[in-house]
Amino acid sequence: MLEVEQLRKSYGELIAVESVSFAAQPGEIFGLLGPNGAGKTTTIGCICGLLTPSAGRVKVMGHDVVRDGQAARANLGVVPQEIALYEDLSANENLAYWGGAQRMRNPKLRERIQEVLELTGLQDRAREPVKQFSGGMKRRLNFACSILHSPKVLLLDEPTVGVDPQSRVRLLDLVRAEARAGTCVLYTTHYMEEAEAMCNRLAIMDHGKVIAAGTLTELRSMLAERDLLRLTGVFAPQAARAAMQRIDSVEILQGDESLLLLSLAGASQKLPAIFAALAATGAEVRGTTLTQPSLESLFIKLTGKELRE
């Protein structure tokens, strides 16, 4: 299992991660969700030993990553955000090298290479140089290199960035299969739908802190079944805010000259009143999006901004 307690990482005055705590169990997919710069990659860096925490403690299968780094890393598999492979080598050669780095020996290494090649559907291309692979195939090999030694804890740092939909589905299936096999998976992403589809539990991060954590159901309940209404157009921010405050149970999450984000219950009944109030302020509404309660609306409610900003 993976335990993170009061993790802090700072670079001089800049605090990248502050008081981050969570624990992930075997067979669980634990999601770290947050926009770019939220501190997800820093957290992963501290867990896998690339960064030394300024304070707090990280344990992988009971091994402290700072004091007992080698043992901790032997239980870890890390799928980096970028494709970290030797492109002039074949899939076989890459796997043999990364297996060697995990202290695997033949004949077990050879057997395991065959297994992961079959698992990722690369067995027919095993001898080709990686530079001849498609982007999706490289991603799968990138993943295969990390699970070769059957790690107890698997860290995935935004593994689907820039991946085509078909490869993405296949990659996510592979992650689920690892979790089913009992691996503890820590999955970072800034894709809401991916987090909703993959994770048993989640921690939402922003500005280096965990701002909410729990199961998907627990997090959704924090929204109290409120919808998210996103209006685009031309607004007078002060007048629009004043107008919205006069309508019952409408909460303004964000508002400027071109965007108005509202959290409200029973949105369909309130829409005419909202449009009428805005029209009275001279606003021009050009686009309307109504979203059911979701992680995205929770994120906006918690941070006052959209996840992809």
């Binding site: 690339l50 890393r73 980096p80 970290a84 060697g100 780095a101 202290r103």
Partner: protein, 403 residues
């Protein structure tokens, strides 16, 4: 330890899959040595120019005059051919020779009788150096002839009249030459100098252009290979593979160790081919093939460690390339790995021998010549081991920072 071999195997596989950078590193010095050897005549100082001689006099004196061109060092510069005056003229018009020397009939008699005599030298205007050498040589000969005539015209006349001289005439001439010799002895005899001869290394008899340039080019190749291999660490950095490796139980030291192993194997091939080529293709006498091969391998590894320890401190891949080249090219030029020390001014050669490659190439040449032995190699290897270990630690420490 096992990972060392995995890392070395990975590096060798990468070289096998993409041999171009290694081929380039070795190809440049190879092309240079071939060009230089061709330019300088493949080691044989073959005549570069042709001197036509129209000897219409055909006497002892005319043969003495042209004899200078048949002996070293002029014989290596000129191929002398006799030709009648008209044919010589025609050939000169065609640009077929560097110069035409016409010795008119009666030349010897005129010289001995102290009468005016005229030699004609026709030079090729399209050439500058060789005609000038021919002209200077003939001027010196004519001047020498003038003094000889002044000193020994009478006895010479009695010897070279063409008639059989009597015993009395020969005896008289001998006495005259002896007296002349004694009278000019104080001008001609060299001052008394005590000379201590200390032979450090016998110059091989078959020393040729390739022998002079091949060691330099071999070391240039080593520098280029070491530089290319050192800069490769930055490729790994940009691919994220080093960062990924840091998340495994393997150490960065093992990565660098694996690189050293693979480099040793590559350098072994380079050294064997290089020394073998020197020995059997260029006919350079190599006192100990095994010692020279070992020294080349050690030198290449040391260059790699120097370069990797410096270039990992660069701010990025591009600046590492610039720094690598800024180190390698001046080192090659100054350290006897482009121009051999033998061709440099003394002051430059002295400085050059203090560079890492200059030091290594000096010992390498001593190993070739047989004036350095196993003990010298072991002392050198010891120094390299100490410096190399330090550089290794510096490089690994810095690599951790650029993850």
């Amino acid at each position: 330890m096992r990972f060392l071999w995995a890392a070395a195997r990975k590096d060798l596989s990468r070289v096998r899959r993409d041999p171009l950078s290694l081929a380039t590193s070795l190809g440049i010095p190879l092309v240079l040595v071939i060009l230089i050897t061709l330019v300088f005549g493949g080691g044989q100082a073959a005549p570069q120019g042709r001197l036509l001689v129209a000897d219409e006099d055909g006497t002892v004196l005319s043969q003495l005059l042209t004899g200078a061109f048949t002996r070293d060092p002029l014989s290596k510069m000129f191929l002398m051919e006799t030709a009648p005056r008209e044919e010589g003229r025609r050939r000169m018009d065609r640009g077929d020779a560097s110069a035409l020397l016409i010795i008119p009939k009666g030349f010897q008699d005129a010289v001995l009788q102290n009468h005016p005599a005229q030699l004609q030298l026709v030079t090729n205007p399209s050439q500058s150096i060789l005609p000038n050498i021919a002209e200077q040589t003939i001027s010196v000969m004519v001047e020498g002839g003038f003094y000889l005539q002044r000193l020994a015209a009478i006895p010479l006349r009695s010897v070279v009249t063409g008639r059989q001289p009597s015993d009395a005439a020969i005896a008289q001439a001998s006495i005259a030459f002896s007296q002349i010799g004694r009278s000019v002895a104080k001008y001609l005899d060299p001052p008394l100098i005590k000379l201590d001869l200390n032979v450090i290394a016998e110059k091989p008899e078959n020393q040729n252009v390739a022998a002079v340039f091949l060691p330099a080019m071999l070391f240039m190749g080593l520098l280029f290979v070491a530089n290319s291999y050192a800069l490769d660490i930055w490729k790994e950095q940009s691919w994220g593979t080093l960062r990924r490796l840091a998340t495994t139980p393997a150490s960065l030291g093992a990565v660098l160790g694996g690189r050293l192993i693979s480099l040793t194997l590559i350098l072994s091939g380079v050294a064997l081919v290089g020394v073998g080529g020197m020995r059997w293709l260029a006919n350079v006498a190599v006192a100990s093939v095994s010692l020279t091969v070992i020294w080349l391998i050690l030198s290449g590894m040391a260059f790699y460690l120097v370069l990797v320890a410096i270039t990992v401190h660069a701010s990025g891949q591009r600046s590492a390339n610039v720094i690598g080249n800024l180190i390698v090219f001046p080192l090659a030029l100054l350290g006897g790995s482009f121009f051999p020390f033998e061709m440099m001014p003394d002051w430059m050669a002295k400085i050059g021998r203090f560079t890492p490659n200059g030091w290594a190439i000096t010992i390498f040449k001593a190993l070739i010549g047989g004036s350095a032995h196993t003990r010298d190699l072991l002392i050198g290897a010891g120094w390299m081991a100490v410096a190399g270990s330090l550089l290794f630690l510096i490089a690994v420490r810095r690599m951790r920072r650029f993850l």
